[in-house]
């Protein structure tokens, strides 16, 4: 029934890719005999003015040699602050100088995301991303097609530093986002910026495929140039032993441990990069060698390190909470945004480096049968409850300790949910405290006696 069958409220493919006239590769990716059962449609929605901006952005970030010198501020900063104060309701009554700006945190964004929308933002371009809450309670992050599409130039600039280039051909898959979860959105899409090259998001869970072998056949057929994913997903990919030759693996969302990196590099015979990224401002930095230094890739972000509880900026080299200012998203301009991640900052030839970044180490949990449980599953399950935050720990006898902050009596339901995830038989201790008792900033915390 051609175009009328699809829900009209959703977009059609022409609207998803206004600049791409030939969508046959997209159809091929979707209708391939070995294609997964894609459950979502996604497009970059780039119009020509947008594409220009993305290209401009790509040029800027790939040509920036010096971001700022230690002890100085980047030249754009004051102007940026003035623009924020003039056009963003949340910053309206702020003092004009950067030094006087207080920090903000995730909870400010969560409470009123609309207050962060600049009056310069065109509302018809508003897009929403609902975070699943891996690192805190779910929230809506607003952005526009340009800031959305800029993740590819960001990725390219990382690759460029490692001497890797993307083949932007309309009949190739450039990037595959690899997931391994019970349930997630999956889609085949194209990148207008990469001339219509394919971008896939696939889930390795066999339930998502017509037959488990299709996972291999499909990946092998399209042989993506870049694989992105979290360390868990890559380890699951390793298990099915695909005969593919990616140019690079890009790991994000959790810290990549040296052991896992080695395993992946051995198998795929390509570099494995560890990226530090945030939903609120995409890719920020890339691990430099295998030490614990991350080189920042974004000249339009100004980074500082703050005292964890007080609004005191710390000198270079001192450890504290990473705080970000800037970005290119008119729906979420950030001024001194507390990331919830801790590190110290070092300048090297005018480029900042994050040292000792303590960002979301993957935390392995297990059922009594030894089956691995990912913390994102727990995060997702907890979203249904009115929790201001929670902690989950697994001891080496598999016993789970859950501490939650909520004003409602949900202990029973939380217990049922944990038993569902970890299967019955597992020992669970649950404590629910009133929300007022919550003192920490990082409201979701996982820990485990096991290591990956």
């Amino acid at each position: 029934m051609a175009e009328n069958k699809k829900p009209a409220i959703g977009l059609n493919d022409e609207e998803r890719f206004p600049l791409l006239s030939d969508l046959s590769f997209l159809q091929q990716l979707r209708q391939d005999a070995h294609a997964p059962r894609y459950n979502f449609r996604s497009g970059d929605r780039l119009e020509s003015t947008h594409l220009e901006k993305v290209k401009q952005y790509a040029h800027t970030i790939s040509h920036a040699n010096t971001f700022w010198e230690a002890g100085e501020q980047p030249a754009w900063l004051e102007e940026y602050i003035n623009w924020c104060i003039a056009t963003v309701p949340f910053y309206e009554n702020r003092p004009g100088s950067f030094a006087e700006q207080p920090t903000i945190s995730r909870s400010d964004l969560r409470a009123a995301p609309w207050d962060f929308v600049s009056r310069d933002a065109v509302l018809d371009e508003l897009l929403v991303y609902q975070t699943s809450g891996t690192t805190g309670p779910a929230m809506d992050v607003l952005f526009d097609p340009v800031s959305q599409a800029c993740w590819i130039p960001q990725l390219q600039s990382v690759l460029q530093q490692h001497g890797i280039s993307l083949d932007a051909a309309p009949d190739k898959v450039a990037i595959a986002l690899i997931c391994s979860q019970p349930e997630t959105l999956t889609y085949a899409s194209l990148s207008t910026y990469l001339n219509g090259a394919g971008v896939l998001k696939i889930n390795l869970n066999p339930a998502d495929w017509k037959s488990p072998e299709d996972r291999l056949l499909y990946l092998q057929k399209y042989n993506p140039q870049v694989l992105t994913g979290d360390p868990f997903a890559f380890l699951d990919l390793l298990k099915i032993q695909p005969a593919i030759c990616p140019k690079v693996l890009v790991s994000s969302a959790m810290k990549l441990t040296a052991g896992v990196r080695q395993k992946l590099e051995d198998y795929f015979a390509c570099p494995v990069l560890d990226i530090y990224s945030l939903t609120e401002c995409r890719m920020v930095a890339c691990a430099d060698g295998d030490g614990d230094r991350y080189k920042v890739i974004r000249p339009e972000l100004y980074l500082e390190v703050f005292h964890k509880d007080e609004d005191i900026p710390l000198p270079y080299g001192e450890r504290g909470e990473l705080v970000i200012t800037g970005g290119n998203n008119p729906f979420l301009p950030l001024i001194r945004y507390r990331t919830g991640d801790f590190c110290s900052l070092e300048m090297e030839n005018g480029i900042p480096h994050l040292v000792g970044l303590e960002a979301r180490l993957p935390v392995p949990f297990y059922t009594l049968d030894g089956e691995q449980v990912k913390n994102i599953e727990v995060s997702r399950a907890m979203m249904q409850f009115p929790l201001a935050g929670f902690k989950l720990h697994q001891a080496n006898d598999y016993r789970l300790t859950f501490t939650g902050w909520s004003d409602e009596a949900i202990a029973q339901k939380v217990q049922e949910e944990l038993l569902r995830i970890f299967k019955s038989g597992i020992a669970v201790d649950i404590a629910i405290h009133p929300v007022t008792a919550l003192k920490e900033t990082k409201v979701v915390n996982y820990s485990s006696a096991f290591t990956l």
Binding site: G10, S42, V117, L123, V128, Q130
Partner: protein, 191 residues
């Protein structure tokens, strides 16, 4: 001394005649002018006083119809015996009818001064305030507070500040909801 409620019921009984605004014909004395002169004479207390001793009405034609009718409603208010024979109030009344009502006419329709309770009260209090009369049973402070609470101009200033930002927020949230619905619709059945 007079209390608000007495003037309130007086204002409520404003005859239909005072709401009329027949078009001006050349050489004719306007309806508003007739009512004004009549009222000023009553307030003056001397019906034989010369027009020259009363406020000049030459610029009346410049006022919009809503202000003219509002002024006529004012004429009715000041017809209350309380204002009769108080020539010292003629200037304040003139100020009220011209200055206050000019500013207010942009926001309040003449009939609201009679039909809307809060506006009626504002009308009366504003007039008394001009004449420096504190309503019976109230202290000057209470009266000022009450007037401030009803102040249309002040409220307008507040609303002007808030309205635009609410509109934008509402629009953002509507777009957010729409986007989320769209995302939900993008999820299609397994093919």
């Amino acid at each position: 001394m007079i209390d608000i409620y007495t003037l309130f019921s007086h204002l409520k009984s404003c005859p239909e005649y005072f709401f009329q605004c027949p078009p001006l014909n050349r050489g004719q004395v306007s309806h508003t002018e007739v009512l004004l002169m009549d009222m000023y004479r009553k307030v003056h207390g001397d019906f034989s006083v010369a027009d020259a001793a009363l406020p000049t009405l030459v610029n009346l034609w410049q006022n919009g119809e809503n202000q003219l009718v509002s002024m006529q409603v004012g004429c009715w208010l000041f017809h209350h015996p309380f204002f009769a024979g108080k020539p010292e109030w003629i200037i304040p009344i003139d100020d009220f009818l011209n200055d206050d009502l000019e500013a207010l006419s942009a926001y309040v329709q003449a009939r609201e001064w009679v039909e809307d309770e809060d506006r009626a009260e504002e009308f009366i209090r504003l007039a008394l305030n001009r004449c420096e009369v504190t309503p019976a049973g109230e202290t000057a402070l209470e009266a000022a507070d009450r007037l401030e609470a009803l102040d249309t101009l002040k409220r307008q200033a507040v609303l002007r500040g808030s309205q635009a930002s609410y509109d934008r927020i509402r629009e953002i949230r509507r777009k957010m909801a729409e986007q989320k619905a769209r995302e939900a619709a993008n999820v299609y059945g397994r093919e």
